[in-house]
């Protein structure tokens, strides 16, 4: 257990030793801030005047906050592969993996350590962007349940990105290949959602299989345990595949 935490914390620290994590956080935060302010502006000038006559008007949490988290999910489709690509592919390229594989550790400890390191990054990212909707609490009443559900949904979505990325990184020898394939897989799951919702090819199965369908219900403020279960299965499945891959490396060479 202690070795797993050592890996997680060192991986997390090493992300911030290179400019990569800093620049990703800065760029994503900047773009999301722009989107947030844009949404806020629209809400105050166009939507708010209309809502005075409605009986149960949609609030700022429905319109601005969930849009922010949706955009964050979409942007991270492209960004998360950059964070996960380093994990195993870079170690292979730099031939540093023997440090872990010849230490008294199981593959499970190595994979979980790296994954927890990624999760810490995800938490930092979601924490930072959540500061924006939280700042609204200074001036208005927020729907706290909805905010919590959106943040949880985003954490789960990004955690699923991380698990898929970790697996593809364990297959690749070059980080770029890991990034491209991870991006491809994540985008494919979104396309699956779109085709599931389409008039012609629409199918509940496609919507169910896509990680985005489950994310959207979190954004609507709905916490459904089957959505949670979907993410846990998705994450667990990819982590087990990664562990198997590492074990297999030892056998196949």
């Amino acid at each position: 257990m202690s070795a797993m935490w050592a890996i997680a914390i060192t991986e997390f620290r090493r992300m911030f030793l290179s400019p990569l994590a800093w620049s990703i956080l800065a760029v994503v935060q900047f773009i999301l801030a722009w989107i947030f302010l844009l949404g806020l502006q629209e809400y105050m000038t166009q939507i708010q005047p209309l809502t005075t006559t409605m009986e149960d008007p949609p609030g700022i949490s429905d319109l601005v906050v969930s849009a922010l988290y949706l955009w964050a999910g979409i942007i991270m489709l492209a960004v998360m592969p950059l964070m996960t690509m380093r994990q195993f592919a870079e170690e292979r390229m730099n031939q540093t993996l023997p440090l872990l594989t010849s230490s008294p550790l199981s593959s499970t400890q190595i994979v979980l350590g790296k994954y927890v390191g990624l999760l810490l990054f995800v938490l930092v990212m979601v924490g930072l962007l959540s500061l924006m909707p939280l700042s609204l609490a200074l001036g208005t009443q927020l729907d706290w349940g909805m905010l919590a559900s959106a943040a949880l949904g985003l954490v789960l979505l990004l955690a699923s990105f991380a698990a898929a990325g970790l697996f593809l990184s364990s297959l690749a020898r070059q980080p770029v290949i890991a990034a491209v394939t991870t991006f491809g897989l994540l985008l494919f799951l979104v396309v699956l959602y779109i085709s599931g919702k389409s008039q012609v090819t629409g199918s509940e199965v496609f919507v169910y299989l896509s990680h985005f369908g489950h994310f959207l219900s979190f954004l609507e403020g709905m916490f459904d345990s089957s959505d949670l279960l979907y993410y846990l299965l998705f994450i667990g499945g990819f982590l087990i595949l990664t562990i198997r891959k590492l074990d297999n490396d030892r056998l196949q060479g």
């Binding site: 050592a6 090493r14 030793l17 031939q95 060479g253």
Partner: protein, 251 residues
């Protein structure tokens, strides 16, 4: 050769390794005693690195058994790996960490108790001459220092067996001399297996030499009484595999 069971650190018997149909290592036995420095020698592609990867648990042998200090490496990899320090061909160092940060990390990976970590890191740094560079980034160090960091992580947890894959490649003559002195020193308490291409190096530091060719052991004996290792080496390698070389029954 008689085996004194109490002092056998590595006992690997009948190791074979196939890469699909290609046989990289063919029924090799490796034995190492306490206080012994064993040199693995052989031309490129002879199977030295593959053998070392198997001995350190990075690669599973297709056939064969490995006992490290009496613990079966394949049955109890955790316990067995605790007894091994390994320096691969490329030192597995993270360039973005400082030497001290890296060594502390390694100490945690090797289950060195928190109270002993500082001491373990200090001792390994001192033995490898790293005290001066503890605060520097590994990426900014010269190749020789990086190699020493690699050796430091291998001896950090005071393992019974230290396995070094070409430890002096790319070093300048002074560094080579220092590393050889270090290996001799370590050889007194640990058992050491090192692979190399450099024949004089074997004569300078090894007690015993095992020569591999095409995945087979072709020579395995102590260096006493060997007048010219170079002569022995070329004889064995060029005689090819069409008849059994004189040294093989030793294994």
């Amino acid at each position: 050769m008689m085996m004194d069971n109490q002092n056998v650190l590595v006992a690997a018997t009948g190791l074979s390794r196939y890469y699909s149909n290609h046989c990289a290592v063919d029924r090799i036995d490796v034995h190492l005693h306490k206080g012994e420095v064993l040199g693995l020698l052989g031309p490129n592609g002879a199977g030295k690195s593959t053998t070392m990867q198997m001995l350190t648990g990075n690669l599973a042998p297709s056939v064969g058994e490995i006992q490290i200090n009496g613990i079966d490496l394949l049955d109890e990899p955790h316990k067995a790996k605790q007894q091994i320090g390994y320096l691969p061909e490329q030192p597995p160092v993270y360039r973005d960490l400082t030497v001290d940060e890296y060594l502390y990390y390694c100490a945690r990976l090797r289950n060195v108790a928190a109270s002993q970590r500082k001491e373990a890191v200090e001792r390994a740094s001192e033995r490898c001459g790293l005290q001066e560079v503890g605060k520097r980034l590994i990426g900014n160090l010269s190749k020789g220092f990086r190699q020493r960091v690699g050796i430091a992580q291998a001896i950090l947890h005071n393992p019974a067996v230290v396995i070094l894959d070409e430890p002096t490649v790319g070093l300048d003559p002074i560094q080579i001399r220092e590393i050889r002195r270090l290996i001799r020193e370590l050889g007194q308490e640990h058992g050491i297996i090192l692979s190399t291409h450099i024949l004089p190096e074997v004569q300078a530091v090894c007690d015993r030499v095992q020569i591999l060719n095409r995945g087979k052991t072709v020579f395995n004996d102590s260096l006493q009484g060997v007048e010219s290792l170079e002569q022995v080496f070329f004889d064995l390698i060029f005689r090819e595999a069409d008849h059994v070389p004189a040294g093989e029954e030793v294994a």
